[in-house]
């Protein structure tokens, strides 16, 4: 059995999500190959070769992989899929974008967002915003899988895989990237952070969000997150959103400030090790999952907390 893991990277380095996907592949068992598609992506391929458990790295280096468009990445995966029992990618916005194309072109189901591996054909995945875990068995010849990164440890370094060049597939030319507005931040990346400070509608506005939560996050060395309500209201950009339809996080410590705890929000953070909730409403559902709840006005206690740390 051989497994093909599709790397997520920025050409210079591997994104940590790739390491979680490799761990899921290790659980399934078999020879693990990693496909790196990019433009000038030699360094990312070298990094993939050093991941423990990886037997081979295949690199397709071409200008039309620079923007990771779904049409081109899917075509390349299909051209390289022969002989693999499983094709795996992390369930990031990248993996979610191209993997269903791969599955449809192979005429197989996709198993989305797995959180557990029972056997080579049986997997556990959350449905209904994580309120239910389904154990599903695939009858397809090839299993196309996306992996919830928080459910699998990152694979360690220590491998020395061979790196092999594979031919690029033709450029479909169907979509063209015309702009990218990436949020720049010196803080840890949300999905990889050990501590997250997250703000909701209760914070009131963008100025408050930054004035109150940034100093707290600075003290804790934390990443910043938000509820959908806070993002919709424009307090922070979309990539701060935690939840069923935003990012799934599982830090050591999650501090929810002025967040009520709707099921769609809980879906994204309830696997955090320790949850702190600060909310003035003692009945807020967030307290049902919080290890430590502080019923108080956030405008009073957040500055106190920052000062006391």
């Amino acid at each position: 059995m051989a497994i093909l893991v599709i790397a997520e990277h920025d050409n210079a380095s591997l994104q940590p999500a790739t390491l979680n996907a490799v761990s899921a592949a290790v659980k399934i068992g078999g020879d693990i190959h990693v496909l790196v598609a990019g433009s000038g992506c030699g360094a990312a391929a070298e990094a993939a070769a050093k991941v423990a458990g990886v037997a081979k790295v295949k690199v397709a280096d071409a200008a039309h992989y620079a923007d990771q468009t779904a049409e081109n990445i899917a075509a390349l995966v299909i051209a390289n899929a022969a002989g693999y029992s499983h094709v795996i990618a992390p369930a990031t916005t990248g993996g979610k974008n191209f993997m269903p194309r791969v599955a449809a072109l192979l005429d197989v189901a996709q198993i989305s967002d797995i959180v557990g591996v029972e056997s080579a054909d049986t997997f556990v995945r959350p449905i209904y915003a994580g309120n239910v875990l389904a154990t599903v068995q695939s009858a397809d010849a090839v299993k196309v899988i996306t992996v919830r990164t928080t459910a699998f440890e990152a694979a360690a370094e220590g491998g020395s895989a061979a790196v092999e060049t594979v031919a690029a597939a033709a450029d479909s030319g169907q979509t063209k990237l015309v702009g990218r507005e990436l949020t720049k931040s010196a803080r840890p990346e949300l999905t990889a952070a050990k501590i997250i400070v997250s703000g909701g509608r209760g914070v009131g506005n963008s100025e408050n969000y930054h004035a109150l939560l940034e100093p707290l996050a600075d003290k804790l060395g934390a990443a910043l997150g938000a509820s959908r309500a806070a993002v919709d209201a424009g307090f922070v950009p979309n990539d701060y959103q935690v939840g069923q339809t935003g990012k799934i996080v599982a830090p050591q410590l999650y501090v929810a400030v002025g967040i009520s705890g709707a099921i769609q929000h809980l879906a994204g953070m309830k696997d955090s090790k320790v949850i702190v909730a600060i909310n003035k409403d003692p009945e807020a559902p967030i307290f049902q999952v919080a290890d430590y709840g502080l019923v108080a006005d956030l405008f009073e206690v957040v500055p106190q907390l920052t000062a006391a740390l």
Partner: protein, 249 residues
């Protein structure tokens, strides 16, 4: 240009579902059903394209039980011109839905299909991308802004690092994210009007599609419940607990 919008009937997003006691599935008897929230956004976007004179006709499609008619009427009350029900009591997985939709696209020849990015019951996030692959069309998923000019669509997408903007030529697939628009409320007169709009029914057989599921659900279970913790008295108490008990700071 015609725009096709697939709408799924799902358990309302406010309902917390329960697993059946024998672990074979989720109990959805007698719970409130609604249109998948992302699909409401998709219908709204298509209707706005029609109001702007870009689209000529908006067709809503739903696959599933007869009850999906209600979802189609809702879509027509928002402004879709007609509805198509692909009626079946078979369990439908995303690949099967994508194949059914492809058969309809071949028939109706829309220039644009707008789907939700994800159904909030199966949380699959697959159907739009699969349909794009089956048709050989370009795709722009997780859209937060759509502009159509002539034969080109320019779409801003929500991605993990922020936003990106893609340009593609039509025909194409778009899937909606939450911030694309705010769907209007259907007014009573529009709900009444929707009852008179055409609603056709077809079957998977008539479309020549094999919808047999590829994944078998062996069991479903509720995840381990998180125990509610304690309420702390004040900030000093909280810090003490985080330092000494949880040891996370």
């Amino acid at each position: 240009m015609k725009v096709l919008v697939p709408v799924k009937r799902v358990v309302d997003y406010n309902v917390k579902v329960r697993v059946k006691s024998d672990g074979t599935g989720v109990d959805i008897a007698n719970v409130k059903m609604s249109m998948n929230p992302f699909d409401e956004i998709a219908i709204e976007e298509a209707v706005r394209l029609k109001e702007a004179g870009t689209a000529t006709e908006v067709i809503a499609v739903s696959a599933g039980l007869a009850g999906c008619q209600e979802t189609l009427r809702t879509a027509m009350a928002i402004g879709a011109d007609r509805g198509i029900l692909i009626e079946t009591d078979a369990e439908l997985q995303p690949l099967a839905v994508a194949k059914l939709l492809k058969a309809l696209v071949d028939k109706e020849q829309p220039k644009l299909v707008v789907l939700g990015k994800q159904a909030i019951d199966d949380d699959a996030n697959q159907t739009g991308q699969m349909l794009a692959a089956l048709l050989g069309w370009p795709q722009a998923t997780f859209a937060s802004k759509v502009m159509i000019a002539g034969d080109k669509a320019t779409v801003t997408r929500e991605v993990d690092g922020g936003l990106e903007t893609l340009e593609m030529s039509l025909p194409a697939i778009i899937t909606t994210d939450l911030r694309l628009n705010e769907p209007r409320y259907a007014t009573l007169p529009n709900i009444m009007k929707a009852k008179k709009k055409p609603l056709d029914t077809v079957t998977p057989d008539a479309l020549g599609v094999d919808v047999a599921p590829r994944l078998k659900t062996l069991k479903v279970a509720e995840p381990a419940k998180r125990q509610a913790g304690v309420k702390v008295a004040d900030v000093a108490d909280l810090i003490a607990k985080l330092k000494n008990e949880a040891k996370v700071i």
